[in-house]
């Protein structure tokens, strides 16, 4: 018998569904907070990743290129003002050359009167390119300035993100998406497998309670846990050590988070319908949540994976949850940014939830 068939069952007089719903929800919450292993995987485990990545990437993000300078003059001063590179003062060209050769510095610049010498280590092509472009730009500007003419073209360049954009800003929504997927997928899958195995589902079938009440109570637990995770993760990330700064309408992340939880819960229901044992269910849940987290940019920046995989990840709810949360929590966007992710998450939940309801089994 499927869940949908049960929903159509005749509805005779029965005790107030609200008391059953509240009691089942309370039982679920008590079971959750008394389970140390689940608490660990819900809060501490993802937190370890937040701390690890947060400290790993530091507050500065990718460190700035450092180059050696020898001598003095307008070009050197311009480089100093540009603030794009860190300058290391060196006494002589020979010493600087030595350091570049040894790989301690990617390049050095020497100004001797009107002659600018740039020597770089070709072993690091990326750095060499950056330094070449930068120094060439500064030299060109100095040349224009020397002609006494006003520049004809002006370049206005600035970063698009908030000045405060640090790795923690990206890490927090990502790791939170991942953590919520773990608690909702595992929570739903393990509950249904366990309840089927222990005949709790059968016992509930023999009580005058509608399947939607039972399901709803578990969903409430999952949503409650997700909100708790949000509060804990954001709270910790905002500590001065990590320095998360939320943008204006960060609270818009909460409705999105609840929608994300719905879609993860639907995945969990589907896993719970197919798996016979808890071991199988956690294996399958891992197999889904971990690749989903990596491909959705929750644990790694999306640019780190090939374009075609980025396209594949568009089918994952976590991709949309993560992007939506980034938009409202750190990219300072408003409710408009929620529209697309919210629609995708709702659609995903409807499709997967319907399949899960179809294949749902009361009995082993």
């Amino acid at each position: 018998m499927t869940l949908t068939a049960n929903l159509r069952e005749r509805t005779a007089a029965r005790p107030a569904p609200s008391s059953a719903f509240l009691a089942l929800s309370k039982a679920g919450f008590l079971g959750f907070i008394r389970d140390k292993a689940t608490l660990f995987f819900t809060f501490l485990f993802p937190m370890m990743f937040l701390v690890l990545f947060g400290l790993l990437f530091g507050n500065e993000g990718v460190s700035r290129t450092s180059i050696g300078v020898v001598g003095d003059g307008p070009v050197i001063s311009a480089l100093e003002r540009s603030d794009a590179v860190e300058l290391t003062r060196l006494d002589s060209a020979e010493a600087a050359r030595e350091q570049v050769r040894d790989g301690d510095l990617p390049a050095y610049v020497e100004q001797n009167g009107d002659t600018i010498t740039l020597r770089f280590a070709a072993s690091d092509r990326t750095q060499a390119g950056v330094v070449n472009g930068l120094v060439a730009g500064v030299v060109n500007q100095a040349n224009i300035a020397a002609t006494g003419q006003a520049p004809r073209f002006t370049l206005d360049s600035a970063q698009v993100e908030d000045e405060s954009l640090k790795p923690i800003q990206y890490l927090t929504p990502g790791i939170m998406s991942w953590a919520i997927s773990i608690s909702a997928v595992f929570g739903a899958a393990l509950t249904f497998v366990n309840w089927r195995k222990k005949q709790v589902l059968r016992r509930l079938r023999l009580a005058p309670v509608r399947p939607v009440t039972v399901l709803g109570s578990r969903l409430l637990v999952a949503l409650g846990v997700a909100v708790l995770q949000f509060v804990v993760f954001v709270g910790v990330a905002m500590l001065p050590v990590f320095g998360l700064r939320l943008s204006g309408q960060w609270w818009l992340a909460i409705p999105l988070l609840l929608l994300g939880t719905l879609s993860f819960f639907a995945i969990g229901m589907l896993v719970g319908a197919f798996c016979k044992t808890e071991e199988a269910a956690s294996g399958v849940a891992n197999l889904i949540t971990l690749p989903m987290a990596f491909l959705s940019g929750a644990l790694l920046p999306l640019d780190a994976i090939p374009q075609w995989l980025q396209n594949v990840s568009l089918i994952f709810p976590m991709r949309h949850l993560n992007e939506g949360m980034l938009d409202v929590m750190v990219r300072d966007q408003g409710i408009g940014a929620l529209l697309l992710p919210a629609m995708v998450l709702l659609g995903f939940t409807a499709v997967v939830g319907l399949i899960a309801a179809k294949v749902f089994r009361w009995e082993a």
Partner: protein
């Protein structure tokens, strides 16, 4: 005999592929009756119970439970029936009281009722203990309490005494008798023939999906017309003399005892009394185990 049936099962069949799990079972259970279904593993007891509870649809045949059909899931009927499935059908990490409160809430039961049921099954002291920390017997009693929390008219118990030690079994018997004393109809399955003999008003003996016999235990045993065995300590009486006693059909001797089989125990016992050999004497009449052996031709093994 009560006039109305709490449960009426007629001609039910259920096949699992080629296996005839239930093969034409019919019986009526009267209101307030303690009805036992017994038989070895795989006899079809549990499947019969599941069909009666409305968990399964029979391939053919009808079930009337409290005058209604339990299949398909009949939500109006559910508050009137109590079902104990197995000792582990609990929510995770709740105390005994919390389990009962949760199940009770499904039926809209008040908290005072929870105390009453805890008292009934003797778990008042254990109310605040997590279910997982209860002993096997306590867990079984909690499971029965969960089946009784909404005060149903009929209770189904599937092997409530399985895997319990003798003391825990006897404690549970007291609970079951108390439940019956409160006017509930009880339908239960068991492996234990001795237990069914003690508890049940009537028993149905099942094997291979069929009911082989259905009667009060005492009548089943009486109808068997089996010999009574009188057992004496070895040496109390020489075997030759025993064979000569009135009513002695057969005499067997082993290292410890001398066993006289008889179909007329009264003259045999008075003859033994005259000889002053009643010390350490035991009389064993036939049991349901003998009935089972007689019906199936097999030794009973739970």
């Amino acid at each position: 005999m009560a006039t109305s049936s709490a449960l009426s099962v007629s001609g039910i069949h259920l096949n699992y592929g080629d296996l005839r799990a239930v093969d034409g079972v019919s019986f009526d259970v009267a209101e307030g009756e303690f009805f036992g279904i017994l038989g070895p593993n795989g006899a079809g007891k549990t499947t019969t119970l599941e069909i009666a509870e409305g968990l399964r649809e029979p391939d053919s045949g009808t079930v009337r439970l409290l005058g209604e059909s339990p299949w398909p899931r009949n939500i109006a009927l559910l508050p009137r029936i109590g079902v104990q499935l197995q000792a582990s059908a609990f929510f995770d990490r709740l105390t005994a009281r919390e389990q009962l409160e949760t199940f009770g809430a499904l039926y809209g039961v008040s908290a005072s009722r929870v105390d009453e049921v805890l008292e009934l099954v003797g778990l008042t002291e254990k109310a605040a203990t997590l279910e997982a920390k209860l002993s096997g017997g306590q867990r079984q009693r909690l499971s029965i309490a969960c089946a009784l929390v909404h005060d149903p008219d009929i209770v189904f118990l599937d092997e409530p005494t399985a895997a319990l030690d003798p003391q825990a079994r006897r404690n549970l018997w007291d609970v079951l008798r108390e439940v019956q004393a409160r006017g509930k109809t009880i339908v239960y399955t068991t492996h234990y023939l001795d237990e069914a003999e003690v508890l049940c008003d009537r028993v149905a003996i099942m094997d291979h999906g069929r009911i082989l016999a259905l009667d009060p235990p005492a009548r089943l045993v009486r109808d068997l017309d089996a010999a009574t065995r009188v057992i004496l300590e070895r040496g109390a009486l020489p075997a030759e003399q025993a064979r000569a006693l009135p009513g002695a059909d057969q005499v067997a001797e082993d290292d410890l005892s001398l066993t006289i089989s008889t179909r007329s125990p009264a003259p045999l016992l008075s003859a033994l009394a005259e000889r002053g050999t009643l010390d350490g004497l035991q009389v064993r009449t036939a049991t349901l185990e003998d009935v089972f052996l007689e019906l199936t031709g097999r030794e009973y093994r739970a």
